[in-house]
């Protein structure tokens, strides 16, 4: 079966339509959620403006802000403008930030995106690699002491909030042992070494916190495989241990990727909190700060970009499946 044959037209069409549906849902939701919230989204911004510029009257400021952001228009017109600015403009236009005037919200978010991607990709490659090896190893030792003691420990780390792990790590490594600084200030233009230095502790924390999840998924997938007929056949073939392990790893990649993307939302949440805790200039810091300051344009842009990242990575995963499992295209 050639690789190209693994992609049935039906499969690709299904995935792309599915992706579009989720994209539309995300775009609509990002419009609706802030407008469902009690109060006009401009009030807070206006009161802040007045506090800084006492000579402006409230009514005048409100009028101007509403006109600027189109908030005085009927909701359907607002939606129309929103769709035109977000879906049919590139880069999407969410207006300028309430907090950093004159800076388009999307720029603020896009400057933060690389740091978030760096943190996710580096930590997850390490954690996934470790998870595969530990998971297969534990599955092969099922019911032995090493497996039985590992499982509760894995669940414990998996159940411990990532921010608390971070606090403890800072306490131990930064404040007591002085090995790594808790916070290394860096931003978009900093040198690679500064960035890597500042990223080290956050990456270690994300790895520690996510290895158990990868391990548990791969462990249980492998345990299922070990019961299957083809593994019995492989064992009867008397293959080398390393060959058998490689085959088990090969087979457990698919379920682990599926599970990973099902839990991607959780992971992003944890990553965002870690970013804000370490004041990394990533998306998490941007969104959390914006949310606490009611900076609507940035919140919307942040949620939009986060959704796009998740949607695209899910699509990518869908398109990788047929390579990992030739049956997928026909299911």
């Amino acid at each position: 079966m050639r690789l190209r044959d693994r992609y049935s037209r039906q499969y690709i069409a299904k995935r792309i339509i599915g992706t579009l549906i989720v994209y539309i849902a995300a775009v609509v939701l990002i419009f609706v959620i802030p407008r469902l919230m009690p109060g006009n989204i401009a009030y807070d911004f206006v009161s802040r403006l007045i506090a800084e510029n006492p000579h402006i009257t409230y009514a005048k400021a409100l009028n101007e802000v509403e006109a600027e952001y189109g908030l005085n228009l009927p909701i359907m017109n607002q939606f129309e403008i929103y769709i035109r600015n977000v879906v049919f403009t590139f880069p999407p236009n969410f207006g300028t930030s309430f907090e950093y005037l004159n800076d388009p919200a999307i720029n603020i978010v896009m400057r933060a995106l690389p740091f978030t991607l760096l943190l996710i990709i580096v930590s997850q490659i390490i954690a996934w690699g470790m998870g595969i090896f530990i998971g297969v190893e534990l599955a092969l030792r099922k019911n032995k002491r090493s497996d039985k003691t590992s499982v509760p420990i894995l669940y414990l780390i998996n159940s411990t909030p990532i921010f608390w792990l971070a606090l403890i790590m800072i306490l131990v490594f930064s404040l007591k042992l002085h090995i790594l600084p808790a916070i290394v200030p860096f931003s978009y233009g900093s040198s690679i070494t500064t960035i890597m230095y500042g990223m080290t502790l956050p990456i270690i924390i994300v790895v520690i916190s996510t290895v158990p999840n990868h391990t548990l998924i791969i462990r249980s997938a492998t345990i299922d495989f070990l019961k299957s007929d083809f593994v019995t056949a492989l064992r009867a073939q008397g293959l080398k241990d390393s060959t058998l392990r490689m085959k088990l790893i090969r087979n457990s990649i698919l379920p682990s990727i599926t599970q990973f993307f099902m839990q991607f939302g959780y992971l992003i949440g944890g990553i965002f909190i870690i970013e804000s805790l370490f004041s990394l200039p990533g998306m998490g810091t941007v969104i959390i700060t914006a949310a606490l300051e009611y900076d609507y344009p940035v919140i919307e842009a942040g949620l939009f970009v986060t959704s796009i990242v998740m949607i695209l990575s899910n699509l990518a995963a869908d398109l990788i499946y047929p390579i990992l499992d030739p049956r997928v295209s026909y299911m």
């Binding site: 849902a25 159940s159 404040l175 944890g270 949310a291 959704s307 998740m310 949607i311």
Partner: protein
């Protein structure tokens, strides 16, 4: 009858189940006791400021002299409430949707696409955004968590319903014209242990979600769940003052309680697979 019996005996011989049950039981007992008895008022200043653990304050005190041991006991109430109630809400949506999708072929695609929307959306950031505008109570926080996390439940229920639907006895029932509702009830009863196991796992998720919200200061802050205590520790710079006692017990408790739930869920799932497969 026999199936349930052998599942129970499997569970009762399972070390993980016993550990998990003991952990959850301990914290439930603590929550109940804390309704009637607390050493100090957990939110009033009752001792010296920044006091490390001592005889009169076994977990030390906060920056404003609140007794942390009382806060710890008191905090088990909201934590457990949100764990159970959010799991209930997520089951309320996840089970019917999963069953329908697994049973009716025509409903499968649209329902699962609908679930995908929730899976692919950035839940926690969304939650943070919603919670900054609407200060949640324990009930509304549980509802938000449940509504945003039902797709996991739906997915698992769907795939097990789908595989049971293909078993001969269900196929015979369908062909002989047994009412759909009746067959779906049968499928439900059959996968009930699995549903219990996923619900317990989603209680774990509820505990962690609540902790995240509380820690960011967007949770139901007045109920003083463990995450809230950590939020106040953070805003008071407890870390840099060196007040480890304000941080250590609360995170460990969240982890241990959530692990207790996970171990129960894990052993229930194992027992189900051991008996059925």
């Amino acid at each position: 009858m026999k199936k349930e019996d052998s599942m129970m005996s499997l569970l009762l011989h399972d070390m993980f189940f016993k550990i998990g049950f003991a952990i959850v039981g301990f914290f439930v007992a603590m929550a109940i006791i804390s309704f009637f008895y607390l050493p100090y008022n957990p939110i009033a200043s009752t001792g010296p400021l920044w006091s490390p653990p001592s005889f009169s304050h076994p977990f030390g005190t906060t920056a404003s002299g609140q007794d942390l041991f009382s806060q710890w006991m008191y905090g088990s109430q909201p934590t457990l409430f949100v764990a159970f109630f959010s799991a209930f809400v997520s089951a309320l949506f996840g089970i019917p949707i999963g069953l329908l999708a697994g049973y009716f072929k025509r409903a499968d695609e649209p329902l699962m696409r609908f679930a995908d929307i929730f899976l692919i959306l950035p839940i926690l950031p969304l939650l943070i955004v919603i919670a900054t505008f609407v200060r949640p109570t324990n009930v509304s926080a549980s509802i938000i968590i449940g509504v945003l996390s039902w797709p996991w439940m739906a997915r698992t229920v769907r795939s097990s319903a789908l595989s049971i639907k293909q078993s001969p006895y269900i196929e015979v029932a369908i062909m002989s014209g047994t009412p759909h509702l009746h067959i779906m009830k049968d499928i439900f009863v059959h996968i009930l242990p699995l549903i219990i196991s996923i619900s317990i796992f989603s209680a774990t998720g509820g505990i962690l979600f609540l902790a995240y919200m509380d820690y960011l200061g967007v949770g139901p802050i007045t109920s003083y769940a463990w995450g809230t205590t950590l939020f106040f520790a953070q805003t008071s710079n407890a870390l840099y003052v060196g007040a480890w006692w304000w941080i250590v017990p609360f995170g460990i408790s969240i982890g241990i309680l959530a692990m207790g739930f996970s171990l129960i869920g894990y052993s229930v799932e194992n027992a189900y697979r051991g008996v059925v497969a």
